[in-house]
């Protein structure tokens, strides 16, 4: 359209967009809205004629096809009525307009918050209020020391019981895991995305262009990671019970979240999407993104009306009401 090409329009722009009363869709300009209404809501399903209003369609149906129109097609459930005469933006009841604006505003701020969360940028004007993330620099020696500690712990764990250490994200150990090594297939029960594909969005990581150096990390509580929520407990692993208690100490709010972080780390490591080193940088910025992540998970909320290995008919056939006894019939 030329002019200013800002990526994200501001609230006023959004509020000024013409929108359709029947389906709440918004449009670039009024012309488009009107042609949308004619095509989607005021089109005669008998002859395809496009009328200007629902009333017009009703009269047309009556006169031409001798039928009566009971509701507007493709409309939202509570907007199917013929009682309101809508043409473009005209005729929309005031309370509906208010509702719509509310929704737009709400969506806008939500989207904005998500964007900030995703990019890690502070909202404009607020940059000062938040203390900049002062990173305590770790000297190479310190890093080496931590690495040595970590290795020792790892070795200790192995000796202790040959426990399955696969769940431990390779922290600073680039050779720790080969990509694609999937440890716990049961943990990701989304039937549609194999673990590798699940976070396919991560390779380019547009959100974190300036990867924090690994030294940013507030030193993690070692690698004895709390059992990730959603992962089955691994009783065979030494120290898992202890981990659980750690999780408890962190408080009910903290524990699952941390579990999620680790969950994600593992998934990424398994998918071999990012070199493990980078995953540290990810943790550093994690505090900015949990909101976004949880959103992502919520989007996956799926409730199936029927979910069974047996077909509904088989279930019904088992009910006494429909039962049939072949013996009785044969007799």
């Amino acid at each position: 359209m030329g002019g200013k090409k800002r990526k994200h329009p501001d609230v006023e722009e959004l509020l000024n967009r013409p929108w359709c009363y029947y389906c709440e869709r918004d449009f670039e300009d009024l012309k488009l809205l009107i042609s949308h209404q004619k095509a989607k809501h005021f089109k005669c399903d008998r002859c395809g004629r496009r009328l200007n209003t629902a009333g017009g369609l009703s009269v047309h149906m009556n006169q031409v096809h001798k039928e009566s129109l009971s509701s507007v097609e493709n409309a939202l459930p509570n907007r199917q009525g013929l009682d309101v005469e809508i043409f473009g933006m005209e005729g929309i009841p005031e309370d509906i307009v208010q509702q719509h604006n509310q929704r737009i505003i709400q969506n806008f701020y939500q989207a904005q918050a998500e964007r900030y969360a995703a990019t890690g940028n502070p909202p404009p004007g607020q940059s000062d209020k938040r203390p900049a993330k002062k990173i305590k620099a770790e000297t190479p020696d310190e890093i080496k020391k931590r690495l040595a500690e970590h290795r020792a712990r790892l070795a200790g764990q192995k000796n202790a019981g040959g426990g399955n250490a696969t769940h431990t994200p390779p922290q600073g150990l680039p050779d720790g895991h080969s990509p694609g090594q999937s440890a716990s297939p049961g943990a990701f029960n989304s039937p549609f995305h194999p673990p590798g594909a699940q976070y396919s969005g991560y390779p380019n990581q547009p959100q974190y262009p300036h990867a924090y150096p690994p030294s940013n990390l507030p030193s993690r509580p070692g690698s004895n990671v709390p059992v990730a929520s959603g992962l089955p407990p691994r009783p065979g692993q030494p120290g898992w019970a202890a981990n659980a208690s750690t999780a408890e100490e962190l408080g009910p709010g903290a524990a699952p979240q941390q579990g999620d972080d680790i969950d994600q780390l593992i998934r990424m490591a398994e998918a071999g999407i990012r070199p493990p080193k980078k995953s540290e940088a990810h943790t550093a910025t994690e505090e900015a993104s949990p909101e976004k992540k949880s959103k992502k998970e919520k989007d996956k909320n799926v409730q199936m009306i029927y979910e069974d290995e047996l077909s509904p008919e088989e279930r019904m056939a088992m009910m006494p009401r429909y039962a049939f006894a072949p013996e009785a019939a044969a007799a």
Binding site: G48, S68, E314, M319
Partner: protein
């Protein structure tokens, strides 16, 4: 009064509907099988007493147990039914006379008649297919073992598609079945496939053009596939989500409520098909253009079965409560309806081909 675009059939079955089918010749004859142990034959054209209802019940054929499927035979007076009583019946609709074609070892889920090959095929939960010669009821049926329980079956002019548990799909060549029946040898499937859908198959419908078929699952998805095994034909297959509703849950997270797609039916001529789901909606799809053409207004209850009439002018929609996971007791009583939609001239026609 001129008929409105949609009307309700008078005297519907008393319980849930398992199948609905139009007669091959007249588009006013409709057969319905029900869980109330009856098969119903309707004339859809007689005007009813009620303003909103139309059609009349010509005959009910009582069975010993709930009827799971019904289909017409060679003409409008011949029908075949399959039921929980393990039997496949041939029914003379003019006299009401019933002949047992064969007995399975478990309830019979589907029965189908192939006009082109004059064959009746039944699929039972005893994991077998029975192939019958409908003209000679004394001839023993040919029994074909299946690797899983069949749930859905459809016949195109030359092929038979059987969808089973564990996402198994077998496609049989009907002429091979016919010769197998004559020689009493069990033919092997023409093709064995795995369903493109990850969940239990709910319905199968074959393209009248003999090019392929559509399947649907309990998890709100429909797949369209083609018989031709060549790479380019197989590349044309696709699947899509449908019959879902996004519901805001109390904690603010939207939940995608996924309904089973209970019924599929191809239009006899246009290459379009209808799907009916547990969300009480029916949608029309253009299989070639991969487009949704239309979604009808919500029906009063879950859509159990669909059928296009032979001339493609009517779409029959069987509506009854849907069976949901964990339901202990179920009854379709009082909520079972048959709605007939009179299709407009271009209603089921793919876009761009409108006259």
């Amino acid at each position: 009064m001129a008929p409105s675009a949609q009307f309700e059939l008078a005297q519907p079955p008393n319980d849930a509907i398992s199948a609905i089918v139009f007669a091959p010749e007249s588009s006013s004859r409709l057969l319905v099988s029900s869980w109330d142990k009856n098969v119903y034959l309707y004339d859809t054209q007689t005007t009813g007493q009620d303003e909103n209802q139309q059609g009349s019940l010509i005959r009910t054929i009582e069975h010993r147990a709930p009827v799971l499927d019904v289909c017409f035979g060679a003409n409008d007076d011949e029908a075949f039914s399959a039921g929980i009583d393990w039997q496949v019946l041939k029914i003379d609709l003019a006299s009401g006379e019933q002949t047992v074609l064969s007995k399975h070892a478990a309830p019979v889920r589907r029965v189908i008649y192939s006009r082109e090959h004059s064959l009746v095929v039944s699929a039972s939960w005893d994991s077998t297919l029975h192939v019958h010669n409908p003209t000679d009821t004394t001839q023993a049926p040919l029994e074909i073992p299946l690797p899983g329980k069949p749930h859905a079956m459809a016949a195109s002019p030359s092929k038979l598609i059987v969808a089973m548990t564990s996402r198994l799909v077998h496609i049989y060549d009907l002429s091979a079945l016919a010769s197998g029946l004559a020689s009493q040898t069990v033919p092997s499937p023409w093709q064995q496939r795995e369903s493109s859908l990850k969940f239990l198959t709910r319905a199968v419908a074959a393209m009248p053009s003999d090019a392929g078929y559509a399947t649907s699952s309990i998890e709100g998805r429909v797949a369209v596939e083609f018989f031709d095994a060549s790479a380019e034909s197989q590349a044309r297959k696709y699947a899509f989500k449908c019959h879902r509703q996004n519901q805001p849950s109390p904690d603010g997270a939207p939940t995608d409520v996924v309904y089973p797609v209970n019924a599929l039916a191809f239009h006899p001529a246009y290459g379009t098909f209808a799907s009916g789901g547990g969300d009480a909606t029916v949608a029309l799809w253009d299989a070639d253009a991969k487009r949704r053409m239309k979604v009808y207004q919500k029906f009063p209850d879950s859509v159990a079965a669909l059928a296009f009439s032979a001339d493609g002018r009517y779409l029959a929609v069987a509506v009854c409560p849907g069976f949901e996971t964990g339901m202990e007791d179920y009854s379709g009583e009082g909520r079972t309806k048959i709605l007939l939609r009179v299709l407009g001239e271009n209603e089921a026609l793919p876009k761009g081909k409108a006259k």
